[in-house]
Subunit: 311 residues, 2 copies
């Protein structure tokens, strides 16, 4: 199953982190924006081309040390169809460099509509007698509020195409508790959702102990991470909230098992805007991103220890 | 606020229904598919052009009797960037005919990422010094699992641009109860979410008694509709599940107040595939859709009675 491929890459690189590609136009160095606007005008296409060039520079700087990228769909949708083309081109470029691609879409719907999202992001569509991949994710984040009808259509397509999903369980934001922390028979909703992930995951067993159904668990809630790791032994965690949202490497230590497996930690702004934080020229955005990715890897690996997989 | 415009159109047409545009390629008449594949090949663009032609035919047949369309984002995303261009073109065409556009995206995220979705679907983006509307919805469906951090960024953009949202409360699918019916302090989650909608709606008050924050409530749960109508007096309902999912006009009667306001009922497949059900030529797909839209309107209005707005 698909998360096995992610786990293998994490082990090869001894690096359980993922670079979030959430490219706001403001993050893109001015020289890139200017060049694209001169060529394509101040249009959605001009913006989308600038994002793509920025992303390619980041991928070139990261692909040999970071196992995965996580493009956030919202920042591509924001530039319309042209932006969605940049999402595809970004995924294609990352894939060509051997990176694992997690599309952060938090998609959700039911039945045939969820099948349409699954085909869009993890499968193929048939046009006449031709099969085409509309987007190129290896995994997709999804929202489980609609129950099994919203998840089961994904499992089939994941199984057929060697892909995975990450279901929102305990999100990193301050108000995540408004609903997720409320108690059902004494048990918080995020635990109920987490247990549903374990159950759905039975249909996508993995060779390293973790299924193809992962969970999104925020780095900003270290106690809940620990509890969920114990409660969900076969569920791999995608962990946002490190860095810009305030969580530290120590906060996420509880996500990992004795083999150093169990989670992948995301950083978006920290990596994309490293050149601003390091106060270097915008022409050095890629080098700055690499320095930050290495710093982050070392900080997290100091908590995790050696990563060992036993096939 | 934006739902006021929807309510006005519903009253003008005496028709509380919305045509769902969820165009699977299989639903599109073969003569349209063939023509588009001949011109553009068996490509995502060929598929997307076929969907657009189908949608335009449906809109032409419906715009003077049906107040709104609800394109389902999944069926456009399924054809990649070309599909997203068809989503835009469909919205643009519906808007040009005076229809209210509800984009069914069930989007969800937090903070600046939710702002990106809001800009994409309900607002504008700035490219250099140029402002552009990436997509053209009047309202967007959203998922509230992440709490207020996922909804508040929308309220600001709705207020600035005269737009609305519909939050998933009690969805129409069989497994919706797995999470949504679970009890928190004796109260089902869908009621807790519904009350959050009422509260969020305080920031977007409307002139006809309903706020700019609506709720998605499935026609397949008539008892829950009645309860929620009583509990959420200022929340307008978007009601899926009529027709293809088995709910009848009587099932949705409880959504409406004494003035015949309070909800809008969706039909997707029933309208799009009316030509198949009526066993007429595929060349008559638009006329068949119009007949079905009229039948549905009359069936629902027999339950609702006269629709009166008091501004």
């Amino acid at each position: 199953m698909s998360l096995d491929r992610l786990i293998e890459k994490i082990e090869q690189m001894q690096n359980p982190t993922v670079a979030g590609l959430d490219p706001k136009l403001d993050y893109v160095p001015e020289y890139i924006r200017k060049r694209c606007f001169e060529k394509y005008g101040e249009t959605l296409k001009g913006a989308a081309k600038a994002l793509l060039e920025f992303n390619k520079g980041l991928i070139d700087a990261l692909y040999d040390i970071v196992p995965a990228v996580k493009p956030q769909a919202a920042y591509y949708e924001m530039y319309g169809a042209a932006g969605m083309k940049t999402l595809y081109k970004t995924q294609e470029y990352a894939r060509s460099k051997g990176m694992y691609v997690i599309t952060d879409g938090k998609r959700n719907d039911i039945g045939t509509t969820m099948e349409a999202y699954a085909a869009a992001h993890l499968g193929k569509v048939k046009v006449g007698s031709t099969e085409i991949e509309p987007f190129l994710g290896d995994a997709l984040t999804v929202n489980g509020y609609l129950g099994s009808d919203g998840i089961k259509p994904l499992l089939k397509i994941c199984s057929e195409n060697d892909k995975g999903i990450f279901v929102l369980v305990k999100t990193s934001n301050p108000s995540s508790g408004e609903l997720q922390d409320r108690l059902i028979d004494g048990e918080p909703i995020y635990e109920v959702m987490g247990k549903m992930c374990e159950k759905w995951g039975e249909e996508l067993p993995g060779v390293y102990g973790y299924s193809g159904v992962g969970a999104v668990v925020g780095a900003t809630y270290p106690e809940q991470i620990k509890t969920l790791r114990a409660l969900l032994p076969r569920t791999f965690f995608l962990i946002p909230g490190y860095g810009a949202q305030g969580a530290t490497a120590a906060d996420i230590a509880g996500a990992f098992d004795k083999n150093g497996l169990g989670g992948i930690v995301n950083s978006s702004r920290g990596i994309m805007c490293a050149y601003q934080k390091q106060r270097v020229s915008e022409h050095e955005f890629a080098e700055a991103a690499r320095r930050e990715a290495i710093r982050m890897r070392d900080e997290i690996m100091a908590q995790v220890g050696k990563i060992v997989i036993n096939g």
